[in-house]
């Protein structure tokens, strides 16, 4: 292996760039047609998606159905329709078993103010099935890992918002779950606190080996730590896939020519590609890498001098906004790459 020639090296790099194949058993979450209504309000409508190991962002505006989805995955709510598995457990039939393997950090304040941090985290560990001695040890260790090693014998009521978020994170981690569900963990934190919390979440997912589902309405949070993302709007899944896939998947290639681009556009249309004029540039429909051959051939045919050729890379924000505006078709076209098809 140490004697690879240049061609082999190129092939290896390509292989590295491909996502590893994930089997059904390795999926952290798998849902099919999951639906939940509150009266006439549709909280979640036939949501079908998968979440691979690592850190998955659950992105959507307020009211998109993120918290409902998290509660369904915890077995705290019963879906009216559909099925869901998390950490290998069925949310309908094994709610107690799954909660031994899942940690949860709610969005709102939820800590008992007159408990000592150490006592509370230990208590949560014991509630999740840890023996008492183990729970004591792990509570100390977990509080140390979230940065509260020195403060663990102080009452929670005297903690700052950032420290309380860390206690919430520690109680979600203390029983060594396979998956933790974090509902808006950066809410209420100042920029420095947010930065630290995101760094901590990144460590949990990438160093501690615990799968993280990070719910947020903040794109920047998701972009920073998540490996993949599921985007929700009005109870619908509008996009899902790895960040790289979502951002690289694009419908257009931007082409600029030195002279009038109309003949080139016409030649591309004759070859079956959709072309739109965007100022002086052409936006050529991207279906596969063959589009570059078609552009080259069309440029030769029309004697067009190409000065700019670039595949348009979407930001997560583009996809998010497309979804928010209800343009689900665009989002689907741009980013609907099923994780289970990778």
């Amino acid at each position: 292996m140490g004697r690879l020639n240049k061609k082999d090296e190129v092939l290896d790099v390509n292989a590295m760039l491909q996502e590893p194949q994930i089997t059904q058993d390795q999926l952290v979450v798998r849902t099919k047609d999951l639906s939940k209504h509150y009266g006439k309000i549709v909280a979640l409508d036939r949501a079908t998606f998968t979440m691979a190991p690592g850190c998955t962002g659950l992105l959507g505006p307020n009211g998109a159905g993120k918290s409902t989805l998290i509660k369904l995955l915890l077995g705290l709510l019963k879906p009216e329709q559909g099925e869901a598995m998390i950490a290998g457990c069925d949310v309908r039939s094994q709610p107690l078993e799954l909660r031994k393997l899942v940690g949860y950090l709610p969005e709102h304040d939820c800590l008992p103010t007159d408990w000592l941090a150490q006592d509370f985290v230990r208590y949560m560990g014991e509630l999740h099935g840890l023996p008492t001695r183990t729970a004591i040890q792990r509570a100390s260790d977990t509080l140390y890992h979230v940065g509260l090693g020195e403060e663990r014998y102080r009452a929670i009521g005297g903690f700052s918002t950032g420290m309380k978020q860390r206690v919430k994170l520690a109680q979600a981690l203390v029983h060594d779950p396979q998956v933790i569900l974090l509902d808006e963990p950066t809410n209420g934190l100042d920029p420095a606190g947010r930065d630290e919390m995101l760094a901590l979440i990144g460590r949990i997912a990438h160093e501690m080996g615990i799968n993280v589902i990070l719910s947020s309405h903040l794109l920047i949070d998701i972009e920073r730590v998540a490996d993949s993302v599921v985007i929700l709007n009005n109870g619908h899944i509008i996009a899902q896939g790895t960040l790289r896939e979502l951002m690289q998947a694009t419908p257009t290639v931007t082409v600029r020519t030195r002279a009038d681009a109309a003949p080139l556009a016409e030649a591309l249309r004759k070859r079956g590609y959709g072309v739109e004029t965007d100022g002086g540039a052409l936006q050529v429909e991207y279906r596969s890498e063959e589009v570059y051959d078609a552009i080259r051939d069309a440029a030769v045919e029309t004697k067009a001098a190409i000065v700019h050729l670039k595949r348009h890379v979407l930001s997560l924000e583009d996809i998010y906004l497309a979804g928010q505006e209800g343009n689900a078709a665009l989002a689907q076209q741009n980013g609907h790459i099923q994780a289970n098809q990778r």
């Binding site: 107690l96 031994k100 709610p106 709102h108 939820c110 014991e126 509630l127 099935g129 160093e207």
Partner: protein, 289 residues
């Protein structure tokens, strides 16, 4: 020596450790919640302010046996069966303790929205509330049972013949045990039922004390013979203050001053316990996390 120390020195890895051991079941979680309720009710591992009332009330509940045994030791005056007369004089301690501790056990969890964390653990809502009710009842037994068992044991030890005293007063012991458990369940479940409907401790305690006092006043007035209507005595079953004490006194053979047969108070107490527990369970199946 220094070299040896250096040779033995190691960097302790504080990296995250996974847990591969056994994960215990619902029984363990239930015990953990019960233990927490007992410690919380007694103010243990909490600041001094939280310890004052429970321990003061426990001390007051322990006073009658201590005084009676003290008199017996110092003066030599032995009361044959003092239990029935103690309960009516000390029932306010049971009621106050139940009102304060019930509110302390469950109101703060809802007010601070900790239930969302507890219910994300492998327990159900009914497991949670069952642990809290059991904790309160066990704590109430410290007041309704332990002092009388101490009194009985002390009297037996001070009696000329231990075995004779025990065999002569065995029915008293049985009634004291049953009565203590009945009173603890009665006030414990009733106080929990009231506390389950508010997340403010003051309202819960005040509401419970108010309910007991108002029911006692209303029951007393409506059951009064001065009203001259038939069946008026049945209104004494509205009196939540007297009901379990009346049943216990009846079990101890002291029926004086009760408008109805003692068994009516016993059945009435059972009904209140069942209704209260049903209310608590229903409330916690519905309560928002």
């Amino acid at each position: 020596m220094e070299n040896n120390v250096s040779a033995n020195a190691r960097i302790i890895d504080r990296g995250y450790q996974h847990y591969d051991g056994k994960r215990l079941g619902l029984g363990h979680s239930e015990w953990v919640m019960l233990r927490a309720a007992l410690l919380r009710g007694l103010g243990i591992r909490r600041n001094f302010r939280n310890k004052i009332m429970p321990w003061l009330l426990i001390a007051i509940a322990l006073l009658p046996p201590v005084v009676i045994l003290g008199i017996q030791i110092i003066v030599g005056l032995a009361l044959a069966s003092p239990y029935a007369n103690i309960y009516p004089r000390i029932d306010f301690v049971f009621i106050l303790f139940a009102g304060l501790v019930a509110a302390d056990l469950i109101c703060a969890d809802r007010r601070e929205r900790v239930l969302s964390l507890y219910f994300s653990a492998p327990i159900t809502r009914l497991h949670y509330i069952a642990a809290q009710v059991t904790g309160l009842v066990l704590l109430l037994l410290l007041l309704t049972l332990v002092p009388y068992v101490i009194l009985f044991s002390g009297q037996a030890l001070l009696a000329p013949a231990f075995a004779t005293f025990v065999s002569d007063h065995l029915s008293d012991l049985r009634s004291v045990l049953l009565g203590g458990v009945l009173i603890a369940f009665f006030y414990g479940s009733l106080a929990m039922a009231v506390s389950a409907f508010t997340d403010r401790r003051a309202y819960a305690t005040g509401g419970f004390l108010g309910l007991v006092l108002v029911s006692s006043t209303a029951g007393g007035i409506l059951a009064s013979p001065m009203l001259h209507f038939s069946g008026h005595e049945w209104f004494s079953l509205l009196d939540l203050f007297t009901m379990p004490i009346g049943a216990t006194r009846w079990m101890l053979g002291a029926t004086g001053g009760l408008p109805l047969d003692g068994s009516a108070y016993l059945w009435g107490s059972f009904a209140v316990i069942v209704i209260s527990l049903a209310l608590v369970g229903w409330r916690y199946l519905k309560v928002s996390d």
